[in-house]
Amino acid sequence: MPGPVQPLSSLPLGAAATITEIKVPPEHRGRLLEMGLLTGTTVQLVRFAPMGDPVEIKVRGYNLTLRRNEAELIMVQPK
């Protein structure tokens, strides 16, 4: 049962979800897309850094970090 659409940063740790929308402004979106974060891509929230920010995710088999405020702009639907 797919869950409700929510920001990537609010996924429970370890949960996988599908990206539904990337709300990052277009001029900053390029690198995110090129790193493989696209609508429809599966991502997994791995952990937050000790001070609560940044956040580590797994995408396309590798680990990537984003700031919390960037992760908040990536909308996902839990699998």
Binding site: P26, G30, L38, A49, D53
Partner: protein, 759 residues
């Protein structure tokens, strides 16, 4: 005109008989045979480069920018083949986000006149991270250079349970694929042979193709744009279609190619974008999405998952190393170990080098008759440069540690852990290690800022790094603290700690201020990969250390030498024959009173005379005069002209302050550093002003320390910043701002302290 351009974008399908239309066949092959190595960061490019070229690489910069250029000769080639390999900076895509990536792109597009056209491009692909790596690899293949794919890290892919069929991959990509384990030299021979063969025999150019199925309308637009590109550049080697795709879909491509495209093209691009937008196509993401769709399919077709290893080795390590609590423990532990090693292990070679410098100075001194030349060589060049060079072991060790952190993959974790802290002042987590290293020495720290992508953030980090108390300040703090708190260990420690804290606080404040004003810019995005942990190769790490140290010596060498000679001149001239004469007569009369064999006491008297003589000469020299000239400016900080001499002379390196003060106050030098510091501190304590009050009050000494915390008294740093920023503007600015800061805070310390009735 070529009749078949419309087919040029139909995915990777070969276009029979027509494939060459896109690229002129007259491609000039460089007689020198130039092979370019490119790939994602952490794909093992450097390891492969080292394995292919051995130890004969040349490291330098690309003209006008501070991007490292590394090239070497291919090893093990048959007689008569001379192949140069150029290692490009790690790159995620052909839409550059940093200077490094821009240079990589410009080389691949042959925009740098200094870099010849490649006879072959080798794209290194990390097999354990196939999808993301193929993104860049397919972009490069599209350019149309003869291309090989070096499929590295096959061992890691296997461990993770992915088996890749290289033949299938080669078919899908349309270029040869070579499976490799670069760190274990597996597969190298085949690759090397193929490179030689390709360069000699001339590999066919890759047939033009795009690895993304674009919507129909989009495809036609690319065709049109490719046509105009072709018209405006007749001497081209790269595929016009690939270029058209980049020019159109990358917002910054035109901006980042200043002076390269005609207005006609620019207008065409703008109009095309408008048309696409009207048709509801998102030109920014369409090609990226199409490419990933293609790659995903490709990856699934060529990989067999054995299902093993849901959680990789790295994942397990990271559960501790980036853990909320244990992660910090590990981090602090590693940093502590690093500093402990630097301060303990480096001590021996440093002492050893110190004695070597002294020995060498004595030898040279004995060979040349006393006079200006002897003094210049011994006191100016050997002792002066020696004072800087003794820090080399420490600098090398720091390079070694930084190299280790980078090669194991821990560097990215450190940035991950510390990012929160650094983003508070507007910086990136990657600024942390350079700043931390600066506690030992700012030079490796500044040279390590190259990994910071945004030029502004890199510059801010460079500007504030020398505010961290480096080890050259330690002798200065030690001396001044010993002069005011000789018997109060607690006060001494508190003072020392405060000096370190002062540096940190000011550095963070200044970073914040620079980011708000001069180098305005938001906190940079953090889209950072955490690469899997790898066992570092001793060879790679040692080589990294060696390259960096050599670079430092080359960069700073001449500036250090120049400054040392100037400082020697200032301390030696003008000559005062009357001083020499006066001491000569005194010495002569003293020697006359000696019997056959002078007693120890008499010898001591003689050397004390000599010390007095050099002190007197220094006080009367230009440096002495400058010290006096400086006095009105530094008197409000509580300093007298003798401290002024110390400040001037320690411009070469801060710790020279100690030896200068010892000359100024006629204190004999001694091999026992601790005893020397104690003796000198004692003399400082005894200095009285004409009115009988002490010169070195607690307040004066603290004010002087504050000055040393903040002032940029280090030629090597200035020289390295000049190199790393490629202009004199920034080192001069840095020297001035730190000088002003030092003056103001020393002023506040001294005058504030007096108001409070201290000192």
């Amino acid at each position: 005109m070529e009749p078949n351009n419309n087919t040029g974008i139909q995915g990777a399908n070969k276009m029979p008989g027509t494939g060459t239309s896109d690229i002129p066949q007259s491609a000039v092959r460089n007689p020198q045979s130039f092979v370019v190595l490119t790939g994602n960061p952490n794909s093992g490019k450097t390891t492969l480069f080292n394995a292919l070229t051995g130890l004969r690489a040349r490291v330098g910069n690309y003209a006008g920018v501070t991007v490292e250029r590394k090239e070497g000769k291919l090893r093990g080639t048959p007689e008569g083949t001379d192949i140069t390999i150029l290692d490009l900076p790690g790159t995620y895509s052909l839409s550059p986000q940093s200077l490094d990536e821009q240079v990589a792109r410009d080389v691949l597009f042959q925009r740098l006149p200094e870099v010849p056209a490649p006879a072959l491009v080798v794209v290194v692909v990390d097999a354990s991270n196939l999808e993301r790596n193929l993104y860049f690899a397919t972009q490069v293949i599209e350019l149309g250079h003869p291309t090989f794919v070096a499929l590295n890290m096959m061992d890691v892919a296997e461990q993770n349970g992915h088996l890749i069929d290289t033949d299938d991959l080669a078919k899908a990509l349309g270029v040869p694929v070579f499976p490799l384990v670069a760190s274990a030299s597996q597969g190298l021979d085949e690759l090397r042979r193929a490179i030689v063969q390709s360069v000699k025999g001339g590999t066919k150019r890759v047939l033009p193709r795009l690895f993304c199925e674009l919507p129909e309308g989009f495809g036609r637009e690319i065709d049109t744009l490719a046509q105009s590109l072709k018209k405006s550049f007749n001497q081209r080697q790269t595929s016009a279609h690939a270029e058209a795709l980049l020019v159109l879909c990358d917002e910054k491509f035109l901006l980042g190619s200043a002076g390269y495209y005609s207005d006609e093209i620019k207008n065409a691009v703008a109009e095309t974008r408008k048309r696409l937008e009207a048709a509801g196509v998102d030109w920014r993401s369409a090609s990226i999405e199409a490419r990933y769709a293609r790659i995903s399919a490709m990856q699934q077709a060529v990989t067999t998952d054995s299902g093993a290893g849901q959680e990789t080795f790295s994942d397990r390590v990271d559960r501790i190393v980036t853990h909320k609590f244990w992660g910090m423990v590990v981090f602090i532990g590693i940093m502590a170990l690093m500093f402990l090693t630097i301060f303990t292990v480096a001590k021996w070679p440093m002492d050893w080098m110190q004695s070597a410098v002294t020995w060498f100075g004595d030898k040279v001194g004995a060979m040349i008759p006393p006079g200006d030349l002897q003094s210049l060589l011994v006191k100016g060049v050997i002792q002066g440069v020696g004072a800087v060079v003794v820090f080399l072991p420490q600098i090398c060790l720091l390079f070694l540690f930084i190299g280790l952190l980078e090669d194991t993959g821990y560097m990215a974790r450190a940035a991950f852990l510390m990012d929160r802290l650094m983003s508070k002042v507007g910086l990136h987590g990657k600024s942390f290690i350079p700043m931390l290293s600066s506690f030992a020495c700012a030079i490796p720290g500044i040279m390590a800022t190259r990994t910071i992508e945004t030029p502004k953030d890199r510059l801010v980090t460079i500007l504030v790094a020398p505010l961290m108390s480096c080890s050259a300040r330690l002798p200065v703090y030690a001396l001044l603290i010993a002069s005011v708190f000789p018997h109060r260990a607690v006060m001494a420690s508190i003072t020392m700690l405060s000096m370190y804290l002062l540096g940190i606080v000011v550095a963070l404040l200044m970073a914040w201020l620079f980011k708000k004003t001069l180098l305005k810019g938001g906190t940079p995005m953090l889209v950072m990969e955490l690469p899997p942990y790898k066992r570092p190769l001793v060879k790679t790490v040692m080589r990294h250390m060696w390259d960096r140290s050599k670079l430092f010596l080359q960069r700073a060498g001449t500036v250090i030498l120049g400054i040392c000679i100037i400082l020697w001149f200032l301390a030696t001239y003008p000559k005062h024959p009357e001083i020499s004469q006066k001491f000569a007569t005194e010495k002569a009369s003293l020697e006359k009173s000696f019997g056959e064999k002078p007693t120890e006491e008499q010898k001591a008297q003689l050397s004390s005379l000599e010390i007095q003589e050099s002190g007197e000469k220094l006080r009367q020299s230009f440096a002495g005069k400058m010290g006096r000239g400086l006095e009105p400016f530094i008197a409000p900080l509580g300093f007298d002209w003798k401290m002024g001499i110390g400040i001037i002379s320690s411009f070469a390196a801060r710790e020279v302050f100690v030896s200068t003060m010892s000359t100024v106050y006629n204190v004999a030098d001694s091999d026992d550093k601790e005893a020397h510091t104690k003796a000198l501190a004692q003399v400082l304590r005894e200095q009285k002003k004409p009115d009988g009050t002490p010169v070195y009050t607690t307040l004066t000494s603290i004010s002087l320390m504050v000055f040393y915390v903040l002032a940029l008294q280090c030629v090597s740093t200035v020289a390295v910043v000049r190199r790393e920023t490629n202009s004199w503007k920034w080192p001069v600015f840095q020297w001035v701002y730190m000088g002003v800061l030092a003056w103001v805070l020393a002023f506040v310390t001294y005058q504030g302290g007096r108001l409070l009735g201290l000192g």
